[in-house]
Each structure stands twice: as C-alpha cells, then as structure tokens.
Amino acid sequence: MSAAPAIRVRGLVRDFPKVRALDHLTFDVPAGIVFGFLGPNGAGKTTVIRVLLGLVDPTEGETAVFGLDPRTQGDAVRLQAGALLEHNGVYERLSAQQNLDFFARAWRLPRAARQARVRELLTQFGLWDRRDETVGTWSRGMKQKLAVARAVLHRPPLVFLDEPTAGLDPVASASLRDDLARLAGAEGVTIFLTTHNLSEAERLCGLVGVIRRGRLLDFGTPSDLRSARGAPVVRITGRNLSDTQVAQLRGQPGIDDVALDGRMLVVRLAADGDVAPIVAWLVGEGVAIEEVRRDRATFEDVFLELVAEESPNGAMQGARGAAPQ
C-alpha cells in the first residue's frame, strides 16, 4: 500500500433535507487498486462519488483525491478522474464516434491522439463497426460499454464507475472485468467501483467497503470479510433426519443455527464449531448419513449478514481491515 492514498475520506457527512445521506464515513483507497463500494440501493454510494468529484459539497468532514480537496479544487480533481455515474450519460442523438469525439475534445486531446484513442476504444469494446449509428438506437448494454469507454477515454489515473456492468451480458461483463483488472494492474489506475454484483466485487476488488444508510459497515479485502464474518456451513444429507434432532442440536455449543431442508440438515457453525461431534451424535441417533459437505459462506452471505445485522442505533463501530482511525 502506497504512503499517499488516492482517496482519503475523514468523517464525511452529507445531509439532505430530512435525510442524512452520509454519516461520518472514514476510509482510504490506496492508489492503483480496484476498490468496491457495496451497499443496497439508497445506501449513499453515488453521493460519495458526487462528493469526491466535487459535484456536491459535504456537510461535514474532509475528503481528498490525490491530495486535492474536491470542494475547493474540484476542477483539478475532475482533470484526473473519469466517471460513469448513475446514468450512462451518453448522448443518444449522437453517434458513438461523435460521443467520444466530444469528450475527447473536452479533455483537450490533440487531433491525432483523439482520433486514435476513439478508434482504439471503440474497437476494444466491439463498437467500431457501429460507430456511425445514433446511440439512441442501441441496446442498454452497448450504451453502457460506450459509457465505460468514455470514462477511460483520457487515460485518467482515477476512474469512478457506478454499476458499470449493469445491463451487460455475461460475456461483456467478464470482458469489462478483465479490462478493469488490467487498468488497475498494468496501468496503475485507481478504480472506484460501485456494484450490486457481489461475485464481481469479490473477483475484481482489492478492497471493499460495505455501506448502508450512509454508514460504513465494514471495510477490508473480500477474503478478510469472509474470514471474519463468513461462518462455515455444514450440509449433512441422510435418512432418518427429524425435527426432534434439529431441536436438540439448536443451542448446542459451536452451533449458531440449524435447519432441516428435506433430507438435508443445514448447520451454521460458530467460529469455534466442529463438524465431527455433530456427525458422531447423528450416527448415534440412528441417522444414515450419505454426504457431509462443509462450505465457507459466500461473499454474498457475508454481505447479506452485514446489511441485515446493522442495529438501528448505529453502524458497526471501528470497522476492521484497512479503515484508518
């Protein structure tokens, strides 16, 4: 992790009439990584991006992007950033080439570089053959590709992507993930990504933050979050399983929860839980066990657990991982 983070957020608060959109957020995003900002709809993810781009002023707290304050140095921040915001923002009456050409002019790319870059990106995203078509006639996925191309057009060191794979087919999503990983890995671009696609976040992001109702619930690497929160789940398939056994297992040390699903017993273990005594006990009870499978909780399980367990009085205090004090 480099000494100076690409993004620094301290005690960020943003109030709107009748609602606190961001509630004392504090985190750092190191340069050159893909950072995933996760949360349910209305959690405050887009507001954070707006504040970091200097489009909205914070009510309290401090933010810095490459050491620049977006509130007072917004122009300098935007010079170093590309963005795909909540809406794809493509000009539907213009062609794909005209769209990118306009933004390339806005970013002051010289003529030759502009033409080459537009061609490079349209080719890379598979849109070159349709470059002269009016974008309004395109599918949502194609518009989304064009919007991502626009965000990286001027090779910014920081890219904000709000739900970039929304509307993309699985092949295009995978291709975009590869592109983003390459941008961060090979070109050192910092990518600030919001997504609802948790498997995408897990595969792509070096760090993730989970936010709900403007509060940071957790922060760290996806594996940190899984290790810390993802209790193992044991699935035991067999004959003679009964509700009586489920009731007896509930409340036993090392077991958080038990449920019977047909011929499968699903046991959520506590952090110190062990599967062997459970199997031995079930055999003693006359259960004919056919299969025992122990799984780690998925990242999605962790996310759902996180957003479900938040108390109405406040977020988890002292978020783990890389969240600075």
Binding site: L55, V56, A83, E86, R93, W107
Partner: protein
C-alpha cells in the same frame, strides 16, 4: 475558455442537426416555417417583402422562438436525458458549459433567420427581379440583424432561468411560450392604455426616427437587459446546485 465554449456549442449543434435531418422534434416544423416565410410569403408580397416594416416584427419573433427551443433542449433536455451530470463531471468549467449552450442557441436563431432571408431574397429575385438584382438596403439589414441578435441573446439568457427551473423540455417550452406571449403583448397593451395624445406623440416620434433607427435603439435596450440576464444566468449555473437539483 473560448475553446471549451466552442466545444460545447458544437455538441449542441450536432445534437439539433441530428433532429433536423431526421425530422424529429421540430424538424418538420422548421421546413414548414421556411416554406411559408421563405417561399410563400415572398411570392405573395412581391418586392414589398424586401422593404416591409413587418420584417422587423416577424423575423425577431421567429428567431427568438428558435432560440428558445434550443436553449430549453440544451439545459432542461440535458437534465431530462440524464446527461448533465456526466457533462459536469468533466474538466469543462461551469461558465464554458453555459456559455457554449447560450452561444449555440443564439447562433441557431441567427442561422435560421439568415437562411430564411436568403431563401426569401432569392425567391423575390427569381420571381420579380426581371433581370435586375433586388436588394435589402444595408442599413435596414444591419438594423434587422441587430434586433434579431439582441432578441436571441435576451431569450437565451431568459431560457437559462426557465430551463433550470423546469424538469422537462416540454415544461420549459410551455413556460417559455407564456413568457414570450407576455413580452409581445406588453408593448401592444401599453400603447392601448396610454392617453391618445401620448399615442400620437409616440407614433410621430417613431415615424420621425424611421423603423431602422427605432429598431437599433430597441436593440440596444434589449441587448443591455440581455447582458444582465446572461451574467445572472452564468452565476446561477453552478455544479453544486445543478447536481442537487
């Protein structure tokens, strides 16, 4: 700043051009207006089309209508189509963005008037020229374009205020329609309600000055008001406020 302003204006032109060539959102109506005012009207009026004082009323009115269409589309439309925030996230300054939109709208109005005048002038010459080139006196043309320019500039500034408050293009255009109607009616109502002696005095003064000089004076007043309006509009067009809107 000038370069950025031009970049934005160029984009607005490309967008409206696409609508015109596809005959969408006003494309047909533009053709109809050009057909009526640039072809039918000169055919009916003959050489009087070049000298009629009516030109000082309907050209500014039509041109400002065109300006209002574009400015509403450029601001309220950009917000309605969810492209404004993306534009604001670029390095372009607030001032360059709004000036680009104002410039595009004023130029659109001027281009519309020029095209109509050129077509009308050609029609009059083809039909009634009889081998000689009929022209509009230069002073008259200058006075006409001064009025058209000032009117467009005024409407563009007003359009920023109207469009910033409108959620959709349709809403902006409806508000604009009412405002333009009021602006056109005010002088007429004013003249009707003043004393007959004053009416005669005003008419006599206008006759003495001539339509060209009167037009230049009106243009100067409108341009001054337009300048104030546009400066206020530029001050009002700020990222923080727009993103929250």
């Amino acid at each position: 700043m000038i370069g950025d302003t031009w970049i934005v204006a160029r984009k607005e032109w490309l967008e409206i051009f696409d609508q015109l060539i596809r005959f969408k959102r006003g494309g047909w109506s533009i053709l109809l207006i050009i057909g009526f005012l640039g072809v039918i009207s000169p055919l009916q009026m003959g050489t009087g089309w070049l000298t009629s004082p009516l030109m000082f009323f309907y050209w500014p009115l039509l041109t400002t209508s065109m300006t209002s269409t574009l400015i509403a589309d450029a601001i309220a439309g950009e917000r309605e189509r969810h492209t404004l925030e993306t534009l604001l996230s670029t390095r372009l300054s607030d001032t360059a963005i709004i000036l680009g939109k104002i410039l595009a709208a004023v130029m659109y109005g001027a281009a519309f008037a020029s095209t109509n005048l050129l077509i009308g002038w050609s029609v009059v010459n083809l039909k009634y020229g009889s081998g000689t080139l009929l022209t509009i006196p230069l002073f008259r043309l200058a006075a006409l374009f001064a009025l058209i320019g000032a009117g467009s500039f005024f409407i563009a500034g007003l359009g920023v205020f109207v469009s910033l408050r409108a959620a959709t293009v349709r809403q902006a255009q409806q508000t604009f329609g009412v405002i333009i109607l009021l602006l056109m009616m005010t002088p007429v109502l004013f003249v009707q309600f003043v004393a007959p002696e004053l009416q005669e005095q005003l008419i006599a003064s206008a006759s003495t000055l001539g339509i060209e000089v009167l037009s230049l004076r009106v243009s100067a007043v409108v341009a001054a008001v337009a300048a104030l309006l546009n400066v206020s509009a530029i001050r009002r067009f700020k990222r923080g406020r727009l993103a929250l809107d």
